[in-house]
Symmetry: D3
Subunit: 320 residues, 6 copies
């Protein structure tokens, strides 16, 4: 049963994914379970299990599918689920795990295919070979890695989706400025965040557990630069090409306080920065406004400089 | 004779435009003229007129065409022109003034036509009417106004060129993000800098003489917002549309310290900001690198955050 | 019964205003009411209603007058009210709602009268007419609007009180600097915050519920400038006067990061800024120190840059 | 002859004060003198002495009165004086040195008298005694010290003039806020900058030659605090009074980066800061606009945050 | 029994110090005690006293030694003590209070002795006398004062320990730079924080209760400067020596926003700043890493600019 | 003849090094040479060659030794050399080039030897091997490279001198904090700036001509990290050691705006930063004060945050 269809006092039952689970104590000595569950639409509801006798809390964890029976109650003017029965999903339930995972709207295979097509558009053989080699190295991890822990594109396959959309943007924008070297631009886009796969530790659901030790001590920009260095040596890439691509990675956050000790010094590096930013912002803004009604404001959003976005009431006149 | 073909000790002669002229004193009591002249390619050279007896300095000013005869000398390892003879260009010389003016690479008529086509793509009738009315009001001034005094697009028709290129960018970028309301985006692009025609006082060569008093006390963002307000009242435009477009103008510099007291709160305002920035940067970078040889650095550029850009030696592999 | 006279274990009874009310759950499944009530001195106390059976929580809200009976208890070394009985105030109780509202120390009528007297001191007929027209437009809302949601003068009639005190300050300070144009100064003071009545949505108790949509997208400075623009057109006010008054509104926060894209460029705008600041600070400091004993510190105050003020022990030697 | 009456090619003669004098070399080996002179209105003009043979340059210095004869020439569209004859002023010339000095518009005696009257209004005997003692200590220096080297009130008696005007402001502003302790406020105003007489080394013309060593290593705020400390010990002043007045001196620049490690923590310290600022700004703005025509802008002013002020064309309607 | 040896469900008993104690209410009307206790290793555990009937809460306070009996329970995967019995420690228990206090690893007597030895190395008689006098004045308080409330060296005798270690550093570093005047350096180190004994109010356990009024209004830097001023007058110390030492105190935080209105202008002041910083950082880092395993990260530390430090897994190869 | 012994009107003759040379024009059409020369003490004087007929200006360049004859003249109260004769130094003159070069006070051989001794103190074999390999790679360049273009240690062998002094500091400071891993600290000190030899292009006199292209696009921190990466692969160094040393290089400027995207996360990295800073500051301060008299101030120094340092008049009481 879909969470958005719940009504007060209704008896409900269905399959859900645990998003958060915590044992709590009541002041009269007993304990209860505070739990958040989500359905296939990724909508969430909070619930309580007042009697947790005999539940093996090591089995019930975030990311686990469960079958739930309970009653919808009103608490502080919000819905809350009084959970009467809960058990782990079994094979015979025939529930598809993938349906409960927030993921990119395009399949990873499709996106990987598209990115290879873009790499194929690179004319300079060394730039192409280098880009191909590094992308192949990361292909498996990219099929599920998100682009961030809590910021934009924090979904399964999010990093891949971000790269692919940036390549589209890069192609369109460079069609307007004919002095742009698209070899450099495409290579820069493909490579710019590849080492996030080494900076973060993510599982196959696209959920980041933590940053790696090297990620904390060096960061993906520095990791990416040394990876390019290594592969360039192996492939005997020209020194200037190596240096320019390393510079693009180094400068793509633009500001020193965001991790780029050098500002972009070539137009392709400048574009890379803005394409990265635009895609992050468009993703975040679209998501922030997705459940907002026309004529009202979204909640304050820390990934968007603390802004509370507005949705116009006259909508997308042009798109429909 | 073209300046880039000058050689040491050569006698030269030709028609040039004065870019800078100044009377100076030598310490032994005499005076001489320090002058910069430019040819049709907009290349410049410094020259000296040691004997300025009888020259009417009120006639010789920046922006004036002159016929010059002189000799190329070496001074501190640079070329300098020892000017022996100089006179004002006369009608019989058959020199075309326009050839000496830095101007947009597309004719103003052509650009105005293209912008009208974009306005025609706006679906919402009120947004279209408002945009049309304000653009028409400024059409004459736009045919020659630059976009800035010293920064990007400071050429004749520069503001028009900036708007037109931004519209191209807007169309391409919004084709990737389908939730973008292109009515708002196109209107925002057309309107965002229109009041620069009131903020600055420019002549028909596209040269800014000064900022207007209102420009100094209010600035083009505030001027633009009150202009929209006035026209919306005249046309009985819907309040929300007025407010949202005013918000787009208000927020398009993004940062308070650059003149925007509110940050963008709708995705179209966010895009407007980045499209504006990208076009300014691409214009400035292209220009900064135009005379730089591959493998070397341009001069420090204050319009580009003080950067000294690099030009790769392997060039535009993809564009040739 | 006054809250400051309560004693431990005392049985109390009286009329109070609800300031905050919230339903809470106890961990054994039951619910109770957490409530803050205030008396006519605006002193507050927290209370609990352990048995809320049958209370219509839609009727009991912040800003409502109630009759309360209960017992004062000690909890964590502070007083807390165990509420045994609570009901809504009825007409027959003969309780005056106004007595429970934090309001300016002078009546709105009196303040409005004084401000008209100041406007009358303006000599230049256009400046006077413009100021009069805009002030009249807002007179009704001003009779109850506060000057802010949580900062200084957040009381009923607070905005009016702020304007009136600023006019007093303006008259006194300009008596020392004879080059100041008091027409501009008085007009600037009256107009500077008028559009807060459009930026915020407040009820007749002077309590701000929220900011308006236009307030969030444009802000009172921009709203004020367009209002001046409109009225100037209607009254055919001289362009320079319009522009200078708009500049005063625009620059009165002085710093770009506080909403003023232009710094004050005339002495009257400079004074307006400091008079605004002084009155806000004196109001806030007086209030912050009002319940502090001599020789000790007030609590940290976020409206005063996070400062914890000190009250000297030797007091106001000069005032009494 | 007054400088503002000079005309091109005119022969002039008169008594002037040297404001700047410098020996320069011409490139053919000779030397000449570049000199600025001012008349009684403090207007200045630049001049050249091409033949400086036999001039004793140790005698001709800034601040010296001279008799000058020469001819007004046009150079780069500005007036310049070709000085033919120059000699030191002699007693028999009957020129009054004082007439050439930029000084406060009120006599030092008068200002000192007024400040004593204010000190007399202090009620608390210890605050009065302390203020009196410190002011007496500095009375002689104050009769000519400026308030700054290059910023506001950099004229003879400028510090005294600043203190006196601040006291007027303090009296007027505190009449509006009755919780202000005027004893503290008056004492704080008198004491706040007294140690500038130790921080800077100024001559009796009110010209600052340099900062003292102690001024550079400690600064007038710290110097003032230790002076108060010393005198409080000598006079057995109450500890809290000492501490509070030291705090007022310490915090009167408000911001750490302007020299105040503590922000004001009492209302009187807050007012002291704003009164100081207002008087500095009003002085500087009045001066910056003094030679500006209505409807135009003053030059960029570094003492006023780099602003270029505007003078309205409709003037002081109220003061005429 | 040591806390680090506790196991789930174990019955325990022992002597502990109360670190935090609070009465709380359960929602069913009852109250219980939430308490933190520490053992001699300064390890802490949280406990609950569900039945606090008859406990005199005025006697049980932070810093008090108690005898505790209870059972270790598991709550939210952490240990929690269910306290069954608690009483105050009595003389007959023979528990040594000092064992429970976090203190410097060297005895105060020993440190005081060492500091006197350093003062003895000062050659210039006036610098030595001044330093000796001020240090003697503070000797008693220094025997237990910490260096800060919550930052580095916040332990009994911490300020003394900080000074002593800084003197060691000063001696070693100045042995490399022979132009350093060690008289000034040693004096500066001894004096730099002495007035923290006036800025903070600490008890003999080295726990800071609060800042003093003077500490809040002036701060230890200003307090230190006036103390030096007073003693220099009493001892007739040379003006330059006084001024230079005051400058060292004034500038030792280096940055205005950290309380130093002047930056260091002599090399000894520069060194003082860095020696102070190094000792604070080494102390804080050593402590932050003390319970961290090799190859992992410490918790975020606000005294260390919010960093989460890393401990290498290959350890101190050189020290073992 | 030594420059510091020159007197006005004296005829002088001697061997000097050219420090700056420039052809200039006099306004009457002729040219002359403006030149700075230095003696063996590195003292400098400005001179003019009024008649440069027949001088081959390609031969006379900065860094060249010349024999000069001329007369000392007074110009603007400073000494200036009227150069009558100048020629290049010849072999038969028997002048030692080295004597005219600003260089470290210890021979490069001696410093290299000392650094090898420090490397030998490293216990961990991999850390030692890595450090040794990288140091050997750079040994030749280090024998003359300065540490900076215009900042501290900008002398021949300056980088070596900086490293060696830092190692001394590191040894002394780590003797006080026994938890410091000296292997890491020594390795970090040796490696931290090694890639400055790739970032800058310097000649064998230790004069930096320019930054390299890679230096401008990446900078020595990034260059150093990739060099460590390469050598670690070649030597099969343990991953954690590589990562930790790269982190030390990355973080040694501490602040992002100075080029360190990560702050130090291990104590050895923290110490490396402060040791680097202390040595740079002590070098710069010693130099800035070297020609200043006691009781007066040095000139404003941009390498020292714009400070004007003070030299006490009581000098180094302890070192004499």
């Amino acid at each position: 049963m879909n969470i958005k269809d719940f009504e007060y006092n209704q008896k409900i039952q269905g399959y859900y994914m645990i998003k958060k689970i915590e044992e709590r104590t009541s002041k009269n000595g007993g304990t209860y379970i505070d739990i958040n569950i989500a359905d296939q639409n990724k909508d969430e509801i909070n619930g309580k299990i007042w009697n947790a006798q005999g539940m093996d809390l090591n089995a019930y964890k975030s990311g686990i599918l469960v079958k739930v029976r309970g009653q919808v109650q009103k608490f502080n003017n919000k819905m809350q689920l009084h959970i009467e029965k809960i058990r782990l999903v079994e094979q015979s339930d025939d529930v598809n795990f993938e349906d409960y995972i927030a993921a990119a709207p395009v399949s990873s295979n499709q996106m990987i295919h598209e990115i290879y097509s873009f790499i194929d558009k690179i004319i300079h053989p060394q730039i192409k070979e280098l880009t191909l080699t590094l992308f192949k190295d990361k292909e498996v991890k990219l099929s599920y890695y998100p682009a961030a822990k809590t910021h934009h594109h924090n979904i399964k396959g999010g990093l891949l989706y971000h790269i692919r959309t940036m390549l589209d943007l890069g192609e369109k924008i460079s069609s307007i400025y004919d002095f742009i070297n698209t070899d450099l631009l495409y290579a820069g886009i493909v490579l710019h965040d590849l080492s996030k796969t080494e900076e973060m530790i993510a599982d196959e659901l696209g959920i980041v557990e933590d940053y790696s030790t090297e990620g904390k001590l060096l960061g993906h920009i520095i990791q990416g630069i040394t990876e390019i260095d290594r592969v360039c040596r192996e492939l005997s890439i020209d020194d200037e090409i190596k240096m320019v691509l390393q510079h693009m990675i180094l400068s793509h956050h633009y500001h020193a306080e965001y991790g780029s000790p050098k500002m972009p010094l070539i137009p392709e590096a400048e574009l890379l920065h803005y394409i990265d930013l635009i895609d992050a912002r468009m993703y975040g803004m679209n998501k922030a406004l997705s459940n907002v009604e026309g004529g009202s404001f979204a909640e304050k959003n820390y990934s968007l400089d603390g802004r509370s976005l507005y949705k116009t009431s006259f909508g997308d006149t042009n798109n429909g």
